[in-house]
């Protein structure tokens, strides 16, 4: 059985948490999940599984968006 850690920006509802666990099991096989909170994510969540990070946090998305706008600025 695989071990996954789900990091959320704030406490998620059980429904949301169970939904994420179910999706992980569907994709990667039987998975045991644990959850923690990390306010620095700002929003969204991160899954740590099998030595990989699946990052859907708002912090990373904003950072990527900033990079896109920065590229435009540099090219302009």
């Amino acid at each position: 059985m695989k071990q996954a850690t789900i990091l959320c920006a704030s406490n998620v509802t059980d429904n949301a948490y169970n939904y994420i666990c179910r999706k992980l099991t569907e994709k990667f096989g039987e998975t045991a999940c644990t959850r923690t909170t990390d306010a620095t994510l700002l929003g969204g969540f991160i899954v740590l599984l099998d030595g990989k990070i699946y990052d859907m946090s708002l912090r990373t998305q904003l950072s990527a968006l900033r990079g896109t706008i920065g590229d435009i600025e540099n090219k302009g």
């Binding site: 740590l48 030595g51 968006l65 706008i69 435009i72 540099n74």
Partner: protein, 491 residues
């Protein structure tokens, strides 16, 4: 304009699709003393930059099946055991470009003199040395302005000439003088400080600023308070910056001050990473550490732009022992060495160049004809003088011929001494040595040599400046110019 920009940004934001970012991660299992051990994180490459959860960066330099040994590029206080690490997919790099000229930066390109560094090009700090077909033989002089060096151990552009000596023998001063002498000579100079005291580096920068040398110089500094990893990276970063200019057809001089401290920083890192210690506790690849750096000094062929990168590495010896491990390694890598001796230094002979142990293996081919002509017998004259001086200590009665030789040798020794940051042009050096060869200083008391030489040069500058300028311009000293100089001096 503002509306257009706003619309453009809105479109970009609307068309931005949210995708999960997936990357491998590892976990810090041990951290301390500037190194960390990371487990997991497969597929890393040597020298890859890793980012810790706290935002700190490290460099993977020890790759193992189940993890990596990482040296921290910033303080290790911000990294804790159990925190996550991710690979960045890029090796350590440094900004390069014209905007760096006049700036002071650290080995990873952060400005140390305030402000931002506005460049868009980055070079990896570790790069392959130019291959065989890209190189040509060293054929252009790189003058130091120091009469003893330019006459006896000439340096060519693209050469690697080691400056070696005990502490407080004038190694940095000699390197700095060389930088100062490059003013208006279309040479970009890089001073790389490794493990030096911040106050020392600050004094060097001040000297460069005061002399206007920062207009064509860059300082890369990792001081003694920086992590061993930064000290280790420092010369490679300086070299990468130099390579950018070299590949754009320019001539570059890089001073590595000093590689002894660099070797010590690497030894620290290696021991902390638990690599097997070898001789003097240095790791097995200590030779390769310096050979791969100094091989990057080159004289590129015209097909590659014809740029050059001259390296002046500095090594500090202990009690004059040049046969210690690191000194012998670097001596064997470089194209010659300038050996500065404590005894000479304390006897007031400065620069304290030991002409017997100093050698330039390729620079003679690049020496200007004017200097070659007047300095051909200097080495033998000095060797004979030293030998005779040793024997003369045993007896007080000397025959006139021996006494004459000793006096001449003493005058020559005095002629080759030079004040700090007092630099001679090619014409001045050639004229002084020409006058010496023709017996012009024979009646001068050795203690008055400096004053007499200054008066002699003043006279030449006043009465035949065109002859000196011609030597500077052409590097030649034909018969008619020689006669003109001698006649003026005799007048």
């Amino acid at each position: 304009m503002a509306t257009e920009l706003s619309t453009f940004l809105k479109q970009k934001i609307e068309s931005y699709s949210v995708q999960p970012v997936v990357y491998a991660y590892g976990t810090v299992s041990r951290v301390g003393d500037g190194v960390a051990r990371v487990t997991g994180l497969p597929g890393r490459c040597y020298g890859e930059l890793l980012q810790f959860e706290s935002g700190a960066f490290g460099m993977a330099i020890d790759l193992e099946e189940d993890g990596a040994g990482v040296v921290m590029l910033s303080t290790s206080d911000v990294v804790s055991v159990g925190s996550r690490v991710r690979g960045t997919g890029r090796v350590c790099d440094v900004p390069v470009g014209d905007a760096l000229i006049g700036r002071v930066l650290d080995p990873i390109g952060r400005a140390l003199d305030g402000g931002e560094i506005d460049v868009k090009t980055y070079y990896p700090v570790e790069r392959r040395a130019p291959d065989l077909v890209s190189r040509r033989a060293v054929d252009t002089p790189m003058e130091t302005g120091i009469i003893s060096v330019d006459s006896l151990v000439p340096i060519g552009r693209g050469q690697r000439e080691l400056i070696i000596g005990d502490r407080q023998t004038g190694k940095t001063t000699l390197a700095l003088d060389t930088i100062l002498n490059q003013k208006d000579k279309d040479m970009i100079c890089i001073y790389c400080a490794i493990g030096q005291k911040a106050s020392t580096v600050s004094a060097v920068i001040e000297t460069l600023r005061a002399s206007g040398a920062m207009d064509y110089s860059i300082v890369v500094a990792a001081t003694a308070s920086d992590s061993p990893a930064l000290q280790y990276l420092s010369p490679y970063a300086a070299c990468a910056i130099g390579e950018y200019f070299m590949e754009h057809g320019k001539d570059v001089l890089v001073v590595y001050d000093d590689l002894s401290k660099h070797a010590v920083a690497y030894r620290t890192m290696s021991l902390l990473l638990r690599r097997s210690p070898g001789r003097e506790a240095y790791p097995g690849d200590i030779f390769y550490l310096h050979s791969r750096l100094l091989e990057r000094a080159a004289c590129l062929s015209s097909a590659r732009g014809g740029g050059t990168l001259t390296a002046l590495p500095i090594i500090e010896t202990k009690n004059g022992n040049i046969s210690a491990y690191i000194p012998t390694n670097v001596i064997s890598i470089t194209d010659g060495q300038i050996y500065l001796e404590s005894e000479l230094f304390h006897n007031g002979i400065r620069p304290a160049v030991n002409t017997g142990l100093s050698v330039s293996r390729v620079g003679r081919a690049a020496q200007p004809h004017a200097m070659r002509m007047v300095s051909s017998s200097l080495r033998i004259d000095l060797a004979q003088y030293r030998e005779m001086a040793v024997f003369s200590r045993f007896g007080s009665d000397l025959d006139p011929a021996t006494k004459k030789m000793l006096d001449s040798g003493e005058r020559l020794t005095q002629l080759l001494t030079q004040g700090k940051h007092v630099l001679y042009s090619l014409g001045e050096k050639a004229a002084l040595l020409l006058w010496f060869r023709n017996g012009g200083f024979d009646t001068v008391d050795p203690q008055d040599m400096h004053k007499t030489a200054d008066d002699f040069l003043y006279k030449l500058h006043k009465m035949c400046p065109e002859a000196l300028a011609a030597i500077d311009r052409t590097g030649e000293c034909p018969d008619e110019v020689q006669q003109q100089l001698l006649q003026t001096a005799r007048a």
